[in-house]
Assembly symmetry: D2
Homo-oligomer: 486 residues x 4
């Protein structure tokens, strides 16, 4: 693995020149621009842990393709232990960054594509799997960051890809040449896109026969001609952009991953980088496997974040002299309880993992969906409890400029102090951290990342096997079970 | 009433020169400074409705002191109908501003102080009530905006006022002169303070004998010598400060009320403006009555906000083509249900209103506390559902600069469109409105405004009359009731 | 009012001989049969309060038809005060019986029918209103108990009345004669039916043109030929039937109201007792008005029950020595909070009452539906908290026969004791009361009485006025509102 | 293993004669008495599965003591796989019985005692471990059912064992002889006690030095002199006792496990059956380990029950014609979601299992407590949703005697029918099953079995490692961490 640590990752980004816009201007260097650098630093942590003795076992793996040591984010899960290590790694990364480290999307994309293209080849005698392995060995050797690009704009959501007035609302093939294809469209909400090396394009939903041109998987370097990225806004992003070290909340890292639109304006993809082209019946397993892997993560990375948040709130109650109140302890207990309930599902869906035909391991689909569904509830409740315990000054605290002002700084210091002996600045920093972690973008991401809540409910019902459950009830009552049931 | 509409209110603010700091700089004119003007406009709406035929009945009242028509915000409730009209007025104001209109704090302060100082005079033969009525007539005639100043910094919260290492953590009298008193301390989270004319200082908690100097009620013009205001930060406030009309969410109004620290550095208060000085046993009813009135409001103003939010989400689902999905309708139903549950308690605590000895009407304490307690839960849940229905682009949407960019504007317009015929700009504006109304400051205010959740629980238990309930159970079982019970 | 107290009511029941079956046997005298007597006693309380000085003002009213004093349960609401008194009366009755007192169904039926048949006459020139007033004066003079009979069996719920394979799944007219009609069908879940004097038959749902025969309102004495009642089972009903005074929980009153099937096998109804016959477009307002009145009650009677339950739990924690634990106090607080939230909506929908064309007052539909919807959640949560605080012995406690056994009674007394000085029997009685009030039938009734939860959600969405809310959002953003919106 | 199947287990019970009282009478044969037989049958299922090819792998294990095949319920977990198999076995048993199969308590007792007495010996050089292994080999060889006896009466709960006015409120040693001890006291809520062979007595809470006599572990045959059992009541137990095959809900099995008081009136325990006597500092780990194992089970057995309940409700909605309504599908989805969330924690706490010094495997304490805590919430919510979907007739349905009555049976059949072609009897049986599984005892057990909710919260906070979490927050903010933290 060529990129061995965070510094080398950052260095590698400086060598590529993707076209990125933000607030109407081009960003030249994502590693130095104040709006993107904090997100780069969070992704860099995924590289850093691989060179940290304490975490090396979690952060690296042995490639089943080459036998070499690789970054875990480029690995195809070979066993249940791999699945569980992923979860533990993600919780640590959440704890160390307090934010999204972005690289899981490509990781999950690699794993979903690997097992599905194997099955396409089995059915059609295509050579997608060989192409994909070649590309994957390249990614492993270079240790590149891949953005898993799935979500299309979707236009009018009451219509499918083939029925949109504007055909570009889903990424599709607009031209087929002997040496490759040309694609058009866009992917939205692309976490980590601006600081990735490669894009792994995948279909966003199960397609039918009429949508053959939309059933495409391929890999594209981020700085390929025809690709434009537009970096999105986040809650209170100006504090980040103005490098306000206190008011920004997390001085080193971003609110969440830093998402971007990736627009593909007639982008050429050479043959060896195409891994699906028109095999519509495989879009459904691709999406479900990707989604299951991705949903499993949320009980890991978000519980890492919650650990930070619980710690922040606990420290704040110590500063304010309320830590021993019974209702405070009860609310902290509830935060921990919800956090660990989420973690349970991440661990459980991994412990219940199973091998696909390709040998790659999948998590349990039901439990992974259950995991994400709970995140869309519990992260909000944990945030609500944090806001409760922190107090109203989260919403009324003067700025760091006032704290440091010659005119009024002494008033801020005096009137935002807590128990004696702890600097007011600690209280303010903690408040800003809690503010940053509990409002706006931070929670929207937990709601919609890895699919909106309704997407999980559809899977939970589908996996629920109602027929079997009905027969259990019938058996207890001596009611004959349907023939087809048995 | 001298100030008859919004424009006159704004004009009146230009004539006073309070000392206000924000981000380390002085604000010279709150009506024009981009950080405060939106909050001024929201408060101006309370004046505007009084001159609007449709709302005049709600927005004005007849003074029981002078018989003149006055702005309702300066009125002392004389009957249940007054209490209910307040609730209806506040819901309309919430609907028309989508934010906090700030002026209720002084309104509730006036009503709480009125009934309590009457009772002080009854007990001690003091003349606070006469002083207060004189001041109140002045407020009514001029139609001034009063900030109700209750919340002290509190320092180490495990200790009371008299035990703080720094005595200034609660506002207190530092000197008594023949013609008045000198006070020191600060009040935090002062909603609307920077655009108020007068401060009504009240104690923040029930005091004991040792805290005589802290038991003080008085009125002070906002630009009195010794008063400094520091205006607090809010989520994404730079968008407001940079006058970003789309990205700010609400182009005309603020996120919430605009809160400030009010520091009192040895401020002199003349005798005729002192309404309590040392009568510690009345601090408790003062706080509870103020709190009850104030907590009653939250099922009115916040339901007004929720009406806007529900409308915004409904429109967005129409734009996105999801409005008819059954889970969408169910979530919208839930938002309405929670909203109207809150409204129920505001109406109910008013319908169960009762006259104090002074003749001023109080809301039912239990139901008012129940109201606010539910706000600390339901506003978060309503926001969560809004975020669910809106979609992930809330957190990843490019800025208005990109929308308007020559380079990438066409991509933003294309890829953030919805059903045909509705401009992408509508979708984006609605998204920014929802973003502004569901994250950060907007919700913290619902949690802690009018007292933190635990404060309501204490009141709910206290008002719960467990002895009576125990006797009901005993009666059903034929178990003898305690003598003292009957 | 002829029946002036509970004893006279019970006496009156002995004079009529409806056909009632229970567990395969006929019940001859509902006032003495152990399975029905407790329910009779609860209904008798509605009569008893009218002769109790403390409650007379709530329990009686002045007839707007005759000017005489009547039992409130036979009154047509003439003002908001009437609506609020109903709520207060119901809470007291809930407190005094700890169960369903049944008589509200007929009360609400009378009020809904009164206002709707007035409107039928206005449209069609029929004389239903005069007929109804005559019948109502009779009910008022005699002070009879009326069962409001609405819910039909419904057969296959995916089909309407006219499409059922068995036409009798909804009550309908099978013959029209010059002097009256003959009806067939059944009404299910008829609360208080076995101890009522009269049945007020109403359609169960909005009917279309094809269902003319199903659109029928009429009044029938309970012992009319062709009527058969089958009394339903309840949780642990054998304890009641065996007159186990301790283990039954409530020694004097039933679990809930005592529900019965009423089967109509070709029952003749004379002309003067028919109040609707085929005016299908009035079935919808009839159902909605009845439902709104009835749903409003649940925040009154159920909060009365919750008062008893909170009292029982509080006393039990005193007996067990846990009353002062902070988590116990917090859970009791939560029980009170949920209870009073429900009460809020009952009060609020009454305070927002409005006059129909007939002069009869209606509650606010939205808030009444919100009330009942919350009951379907909160009663379960209150019960869950009660079970939590009571302890596991609720589920494992030996019987009263063991308590009184010569062989093992001393062991039960010894090992189920609590703090010194309180008899073990108190602890056991309280446990049985809590058991009876928190499991099975008691909660099912809160879920489905006055309509299942989904019925309320449909009304909440319908009343939600989304168009107006959308315009509020548009107004804030300067987006043009639809013409039709204004 | 001598007892090889359910029939042999039942046979074995007929050979012992414990003293059991129920409703004031002695029960002579628990296998035939209608009140206990259903519970015996559920326990028999644990034996039956061992001889069922499909489940043998789950239901048996290889003894690490003898190398022989044993029933899993007598096994000491040797690895993570053992822990996971236990969970899967319990879910199957829950599905097949729809109730508590009781035998887990002794299973968990064996596992907790095994690891703790090993550690006592390590510290004190005692020979408890050898004694225990001998006894355990006997249990394994005979394949006996052991009741784990932990919960004491506790008297006044604000006082510990040593401070109770009545010393017998906790089981304690009243005499020490050379050949053994004599104990007195009682254990409450003893699941499966009346149909167990042996009692494993354990302390109920952490003891201090003053409570040496209360720190006792020992094993006693159920029919030892001085032992009296009193079998407790359950919701609607008369239906069971009267062998009402339909109205009872589950015709073959009980509501829950069948709990009894075990009173010890000076019971002698020989030396070789004493495994702790006075080593108070080991009561704490004993209780926590037992509790953790036991709490882990609830996400397995209860999810088995929920599978049955979800199936019953699904079938009922098919019968009623509502299965395709979107709100019905959504509620079924929610039931599955909650069920699988619980299962996650059972799997996860097993997957995170760890070896004790003795080699026996423990589950993860945090996740096991999280599991049970959620059961105390989700089982109620799942039941609430079941009641919602089932409909109000759960609470009003006539008895099976009416269904079969010559007089009114045709009315019951007609008016409780659903969609054509499904017998009314199916609908009624399903309703009675749902009634039995959602009210009263069934839910109380989920609340308090394996410890009341507050017990789990104490453990969750204790295991939450707040210091570490505080340091995570400090690290992100550059705030120095406490020395002692590292």
């Amino acid at each position: 693995m060529k990129i061995k640590n965070g510094a080398e990752y950052i260095e590698s980004l400086r060598k590529i020149k993707p076209i990125i816009y933000y607030k109407g201007e081009r960003i030249k260097d994502v590693t130095r621009h104040p709006s993107t650098a904090p997100h780069v630093r969070a992704a860099a942590m995924t590289y850093a842990l691989a060179s940290d003795k304490e975490y090396r076992d979690l952060a690296t793996a042995t490639s089943h393709l080459t036998g070499k040591t690789i970054g875990r984010f480029t690995h195809v899960h070979q066993c249940i232990e791999d699945l569980i290590k992923k979860i533990k790694l993600f919780r640590v990364l959440g704890q160390k960054t307090g934010t999204c480290f972005q690289r899981c999307v490509g990781f999950d994309g690699i794993n979903a594509v690997y097992s599905v293209v194997y099955e396409i080849d089995q059915k059609y005698g295509t050579d997608y799997f060989e192409r994909f392995k070649k590309w994957l060995i390249y990614i492993q050797e270079e240790n590149l960051m891949v953005v898993g690009a799935m979500t299309d704009p979707k236009g009018n959501r009451s219509k499918g890809p083939a029925d949109q007035p504007d055909p570009d609302q889903y990424v599709h093939v607009v031209e087929r040449r002997s040496d490759g294809i040309v694609i058009r469209g866009a992917k939205l909400h692309m976490t980590g896109a601006v600081n990735s090396h490669e894009i792994l394009v995948m279909p966003t939903t199960a397609m039918d026969e009429r949508s053959k041109d939309y059933a495409v998987i391929c890999a594209i370097p981020i700085d390929t001609q025809g690709i434009t990225l537009i970096f999105g806004r986040q809650t209170s992003d100006d504090r980040r952009d103005k490098r306000e070290r206190i008011d920004v909340g997390k001085p080193s890292f971003g609110a969440v991953g830093g998402e971007a639109v990736i627009a593909f304006e007639d982008v050429f993809v050479p043959k060896e980088r195409i891994f699906m082209d028109g095999e519509t019946e495989f879009t459904s397993p691709l999406v479900y496997r990707f989604a299951a892997h991705h949903r499993a993560n949320y009980g890991a990375c978000k519980t890492g974040l919650m650990d930070v948040l619980i710690g922040a709130v606990s420290y704040l109650t110590q500063i304010q002299g309320t830590a021993k109140a019974s209702h405070v302890k009860d609310k902290v207990t509830e935060m921990i309880h919800l956090c660990e309930t989420l973690y349970s599902s991440s661990i459980a869906c991994s412990a219940e993992g199973w091998p696909t035909a390709s040998g790659a391991y999948m998590v349990d689909t039901m439990l992974a969906n259950v995991c994400k569904q709970n995140v869309t509830r519990f992260h909000f409740e944990v945030a609500r409890l944090a806001v409760d315990l922190a107090g109203g000054f989260l919403a009324t605290l003067p700025s760091q400029y006032d704290l440091e002002s010659e005119d009024v700084g002494y008033l801020v210091k005096k009137y935002f102090s807590g128990v004696e002996g702890i600097p007011t600045k600690h209280r303010i920093k903690i408040a800003r951290l809690i503010e940053a972690m509990t409002g706006g973008t931070a929670l929207v991401e937990s709601m919609h990342g890895a699919g909106s809540p309704q997407a999980q409910r559809i899977m939970i019902l589908r996996e629920g096997n109602l027929e079997k459950k009905i027969n259990l009830a019938k058996a207890l009552l001596g009611i004959p079970q349907k023939k087809s049931d048995s």
